[in-house]
């Protein structure tokens, strides 16, 4: 039961997909499932998630700017993730997403332009090691390392014309990530907290005339949880994202890339008979600083469902 409480509190990280703004579109979910929650040996967790994200506001540094055209970029995204406890302290995790619709709508010179795509995103695979695990208080420190493979669609086109890289379902780049996750809650308290940090490094895309390297990505999250009732948990999470500038050929830094963003993302978790878990959360940017001029995220929301299964006592 205690472990289940910890897992439940940690659930919000499972669906904590990250969105980064790009000049021309809503960007991609990045950085894995963001959790690093370790599972017990012979435990399996299957999760599905749906996310909607809208980017509609142009920023120059810290300020919103008006542009002589309208630009709306959004996506609908599904994600499937599987985590398996291979050993008592070692878990394997894999996930993949599918863009149902990744769209940019522009109105330039009184002409409406719609560019959209759909398809498989990147495949994440990582290993998690539980360094510290205690029962009193309920705590867990998990370290993780892995990679995101660009196996999805990256050559989508409309009537023979390739769509921009930022609207392709796959990021197109192999990315390595490492992260640390710490969660702590006293049994007698209704309040707990979690800390999560993630670093992601991208390899250079070298495809035909395209030479592109996404900037390094760093995230730090601090969350407090409150158990409203046995089944309900409310989580207030503050998330800081730092993205370095992207590079193109000859290592040339791209000015209008890279950002610093602080999000507030409140979340509600509901568990059904401690077997099924449902989560609803939103991402609300409360501070944005972008290099140059960029289209930034306005809001996003996601809903997820997960199931933890233990095979430890089965024949």
């Amino acid at each position: 039961m205690k472990t289940k409480i910890l897992l439940l509190i940690s659930m919000f990280f499972i669906f904590n997909k990250l969105i980064f703004g790009q000049c021309c579109s809503a960007g991609n979910p990045v950085g894995g499932d963001g959790s690093n929650v370790g599972l017990n040996k012979k435990a399996l967790r299957v999760s599905v998630m749906y996310k909607y994200s809208l980017s509609q506001v142009y920023f120059h540094n810290e300020s919103q700017v008006d542009v002589p055209f309208t630009d709306k970029s959004y996506f609908d995204y599904n994600n499937l993730s599987i985590t398996y406890g291979l050993l008592n302290r070692l878990s394997l995790h894999s996930e993949i997403g599918y863009f149902i619709d990744k769209t940019q709508k522009l109105n330039m010179n009184n002409e409406n332009i719609v560019i959209n795509s759909n398809g498989l995103g990147d495949l994440l695979f990582n290993a998690r090691y539980t360094l510290i695990k205690t029962v009193k208080p309920i705590s867990q420190l998990v370290l993780s390392a892995g990679a995101r493979f660009p196996i999805g669609a990256f050559n989508e086109e409309i009537n023979g014309v390739a769509i921009p890289m930022s609207l392709q379902p796959s990021s197109g780049a192999l990315k390595y990530n490492t992260s640390a996750f710490y969660s702590r809650k006293r049994i007698e308290n209704k309040i707990g907290f979690t800390i999560f940090t993630l670093f992601e490094n991208s390899r250079t895309i070298n495809q035909d005339y395209l030479v592109y390297k996404y900037g390094n990505y760093f995230q730090f999250s601090l969350a407090g949880s409150y158990s409203i009732s046995k089944n309900f948990i409310f989580i207030a999470n503050a998330k800081f994202e730092l993205r370095a500038k992207d590079e193109r050929e000859f290592g040339l830094k791209i000015e209008s890339t890279g950002s610093r963003v602080v999000y507030f993302n409140p979340q509600i978790l509901y568990s059904i008979k401690t077997k099924w878990n449902i989560i609803f959360m939103t991402d609300i940017p409360i501070y944005k600083y972008v290099n140059g001029y960029q289209l930034t995220n306005k809001f996003s929301f996601q809903i997820g469902l997960s199931r933890n299964i233990s095979f430890r006592y089965q024949k």
Binding site: C23, L123, I158, P164, Y209, L210, W276, I309
Partner: protein, 137 residues
């Protein structure tokens, strides 16, 4: 609630899903995705020398030096029948206007010298050519 319980029972309490199978499912999932993605590799036509059957004489842009979000039109002049066009660029956005012309513009993150490639193909093979456009603030 009843529906969820029913699904739960169907998936996890029946004998279809035991420990060994769960591990298999995990790794089969990864293998399946890899295989699925590798099957999507495109087949490329062989590049040929230009003839009257297929030739890409020139690619012409209305401007070669543009500001961000300035629109230009790029046209491919070709010879041959039943030609398929494929337009790609390393930076910027293109939208097809008609069978031989695309509209091009670039946002602020696409500033620099960008390459636009046009590849044409028919039953005789394929030919490609490129054009550079300088995009500034």
């Amino acid at each position: 609630m009843k529906i969820l319980n029913k699904i739960n029972c169907m998936i996890f309490k029946c004998n279809l899903f035991n420990l060994k199978q769960s591990a298999k499912v995990f790794f089969l999932f990864i293998i399946f995705v890899f295989v699925f993605s590798s099957c999507k590799k495109e087949q490329k036509n062989e590049e040929i020398a230009p003839t009257d059957n297929l030739a890409l004489d020139s690619i012409v842009a209305t401007k070669r030096n543009i500001a961000s979000f300035e629109e230009i039109y790029i046209t491919a002049y070709t010879r041959g029948k039943n030609i398929n066009y494929k337009w790609t660029t390393n930076h910027g956005t293109m939208v097809g206007q008609d069978s031989i012309t695309v509209k091009y513009w670039a946002c602020w993150s696409c500033i620099g010298v960008n390459t636009i490639k046009c590849e044409i193909s028919n039953e005789f093979g394929s030919i490609s050519d490129t054009l550079n456009v300088n995009v500034h603030m």
